[in-house]
Amino acid sequence: MDRRNFLSRMSGGATMLAMTHLLGAARGAEDRQDPLPGSTSLPHHTPKAKNCIFIYLVGGASHIDLFDPKPELTRRHGEDAPASLVDDQRFAFAEKNSAKLMGSRFRFQRPTAGGLTFSELLPRLQGVADRFVQIRSMHTYAFNHHPSELLLNTGSANFGRPSLGSWLSYGLGNETQELPAFAVLTAGVASTAGAGSWGSGFLPTNHAGLVLRKRRDPLLNLARPIGVCPTIQSRTIEEVCELARLQEGESAEAAIRNYEQAFALQRSMPEVVDLLGEDARLLSDYGYERPVSNDLRGWEGGSERTFDDFARNCMIARRMVERGVRFVNLYHATWDHHQKLEKNLRLNCEVIDQPIATLIRDLEHRGLLDETLVVVATEFGRTPLGENKLGTTFASGRDHHPRAFSVLMAGGGLKRDFVLGGTDELGWNATESPVDVHDFHATLLHLFGIDHLRLTVRVAGREMRLTDTAGHVIHEILA
């Protein structure tokens, strides 16, 4: 029997099976297990956002060098750190007794009508600045990377909690059968918290972020094992489904659904990361295969490949939200610039500036920005002091600074060209409309139609939620 005859004997084939069921109702919130009464009626209110592209700058991007201009700090560059500020401050490395103020070496660009301005390192983002809300008054309580990354991504500084994407997947389900609800793409070096930042914690692990590989197959186990030809693979899936049909019950139905989705994933995942069909000019606009700076020595943000990786990830993110993926998490590491801040920031900004700006324009052009929330965030800011840790003679970087940092948000039911909050004249404290991480999370859930107080899961004797015991929706930034 040759392969063609073999296939012809298949009763409809897995392709037919897959098509039949894929046209049915999308998997959704009914997959949740043990939901509380409050979480069965999701969404709680009309959502503004359907998808989210969450760009995470791992390591603590410097607010005072990129987003929050502080001319007074520049004027007082080199002065001793004010005792009133540093006395009760904990540092990772800086020596508070001898630390000096360090102004930014970078100029800021002409602000938009709404007051948004970016550093000269981000010229293309300045070109789309009027699409953003900029929160300049973010603050956190965790001052080291691992807990702080976890806090921003999961609402808790302790590991083991579900990430933001997991909560959305759990609460709202998956809009697409062919792709995961929550995908993770990385560029640069590794993030400290790793899977803790995209894990599902106490939620079922199918709500964890699926990490796409940069090379080879994007998802693990997409490729058939050696020796298994497409004919046999299709026949296997068909037979598994047919055998499951002989049984009754929920597990048999789930098995059929999963094998059909697995069959679909083998086609859809390679397709979604395959950029060959994209317009070459658009690819170029994203910065794919663009010439990059020659001197990468000492750079902590990756390698020459990182530029393409990040550009590609941004475009894949757009393709994913087009296809219904709920939450796409892009990571770039590291922005932890204890030294050589100037060079590291220049190169890191070169990595992200063009791709993110093009992503915003591309989403807008396709009519997706209104329903897609784009977030650019980091775990904390950096000190207005130069880092003078023991043994250094010259401060060329900044230490961790949880008291103030900035995040950018665009689309998905937010205002445009709007700045919320602010820091003091040195960028030390969030003084105007301070926003903590829980407020930030409550607002994100709100945009997806979720009341953060009502999306809970009972664990260890109490109702757990993304916002822990805190969080207020920031109504000022909602459109």
Partner: protein
């Protein structure tokens, strides 16, 4: 055979495999027409009297000692016993043992604000919860009292918790379900009674888990006994057990107990986004690859994908009930994961070789394979489908021998003839179908 009085017959009972032999017992019979046994200088002075029977410990001891001195393996055991005898003190009361004792000074224990180890808060005094304090008469406030209460015969709470956990895992029945407002409900009264009985017998059996598990499997509800076969529970195997099952069935499982956790090789590109020691630690090789799931190193920032896909939760969370998940990624793992595929090939090989050696029919081989993977025979409808599939697969691989070579590459043993090779390939693919059916994942 004709025997004369005084003749001796030597018997040796053994069991052998391909590369091993187990001595199960040896004995000799001396023939006599007397009522008295023959006295043999080579035998202990009190030989085993068949009329006395094997239940007599007094008669077995010398025999045991006798063989201990003659078998090289048993000689080693005898040496070990002697060593322990020498180590044992004359006065057992002099043996020292670790015990828990309350310290006279207590270390200050603080609340860590929001769980942050960097943020120590107020000092917490040692005391028992008020409900527990009432249980203990309001006096006790230390761990020793608490430990006594936990294991009190009057209220075997630990035994009951463990029994409930075993029942929950074996039967898939939830013994207690959390409700809003910090309360718990028992959904099934009969189940409560079953758990209570199991707990009592568990404590009475000197906390024998083996006894408890057997008891739980054999009893259900209002004490009517059922066969284990009726107890095919609906719960999904836990991820570690799925891996262990595949390993055990393939004959690859490394059964050693104890030792360090083993870092499994990370799939290429899987952990590049996460700061991960798994990338720098030496990874498993050889038989270490086949240790039980219990010993797989859990890298928090980049855990083993197979375990995550099948629901191993974050290890810092206390999960009394593993949440079952059914996902397309699991299907992809069972279909395509190179590790799973390798195990499937060896599972099929084991059954196929047994079938060949024992001249099993296809039906028998199918039943044996199904029993080992699904814990049951195939139904008639399933058997009909699978036999038809087998026929198709055989024809397909006979016509496509180049695919057979690919399938058998890396398998520990392969047949020579084209016919056998294509037949084995067909059985491998059939086994792959069985591993992917829903019942394979059930406990």
């Amino acid at each position: 055979m004709e025997l004369e009085p005084g003749d001796r017959l030597h018997f040796s009972l053994g069991q052998s495999g391909d590369d091993w032999m187990l001595t199960m017992g040896r004995f000799q019979i001396s023939t006599t027409n007397s009522d008295l046994p023959l006295v043999d200088a080579d035998l202990p002075s009190q030989p085993w009297n068949s009329q006395q029977g094997p239940s007599s410990g007094a008669s077995q001891d010398p025999l045991f000692e006798y063989y201990l001195l003659r078998d090289p393996h048993d000689q080693q055991l005898a040496d070990s016993i002697e060593t322990f005898r020498k180590l044992a003190p004359d006065d057992p009361a002099s043996i020292m043992a670790m015990v828990v004792r309350e310290s006279e000074t207590r270390r200050a224990t603080r609340v860590m604000e929001r769980g942050d180890y960097e943020s120590p808060g107020e000092v917490v005094e040692a005391r028992l919860p008020s409900w527990l304090s009432r249980e203990l008469g309001g006096e006790a406030n230390n761990r020793a009292e608490f430990a006594r209460w936990l294991f009190a015969e009057a209220k075997p709470i630990v035994a009951r918790v463990l029994a409930a956990r075993v029942v929950q895992r074996l039967q898939g029945d939830v013994v207690l379900r959390p409700e809003a407002g910090n309360s718990w409900v028992a959904p099934d009264e009969a189940l409560q009674r079953q758990v209570n009985r199991l707990a009592i017998r568990f404590a009475e059996s000197e906390w024998s888990f083996k006894h408890l598990v057997r008891d739980a499997v054999l009893s259900r509800g209002d004490s009517h006994l059922v066969t284990p076969h009726e107890h095919r529970a609906a719960r999904q195997l836990e991820s570690e057990m799925i891996r262990d099952t595949l390993l055990a069935q393939s004959g690859l499982l490394h059964r050693s107990i104890g030792g360090r956790s083993v870092v499994m090789p990370q799939p290429l590109g899987r952990s590049e986004g996460a700061f991960s020691r798994a990338e720098v630690l030496p990874t498993a090789a050889g038989k270490e690859l086949y240790v039980r799931g219990l010993y797989v190193w859990w890298q928090r920032t980049s855990p083993m994908p197979f375990l995550v896909q099948f629901g191993t939760p974050a290890t810092n969370q206390c999960e009394t009930i593993r949440l079952e998940t059914r996902t397309a990624e699991q299907a992809l793992s069972l279909l395509n994961d190179p590790m799973v595929y390798d195990h499937i090939r060896h599972i099929a090989l084991n059954h196929w070789r047994s079938g060949h050696q024992e001249s099993w029919s296809d039906q028998r081989l199918l039943e044996e394979t199904s029993l080992s993977l699904l814990g049951r025979d195939p139904t008639s409808d399933e058997a009909e489908r699978l036999e038809a599939l087998l026929t198709e697969l055989r024809a397909f691989y006979l016509a496509n021998p180049e695919l057979v070579d690919d399938i058998l590459t890396g398998v520990l043993w392969t047949p020579d003839s084209v016919q056998d090779r294509s037949d084995l390939a067909a059985w491998i693919m059939l086994t792959r179908v069985l591993v992917n059916t829903p019942d394979f994942l059930k406990l």
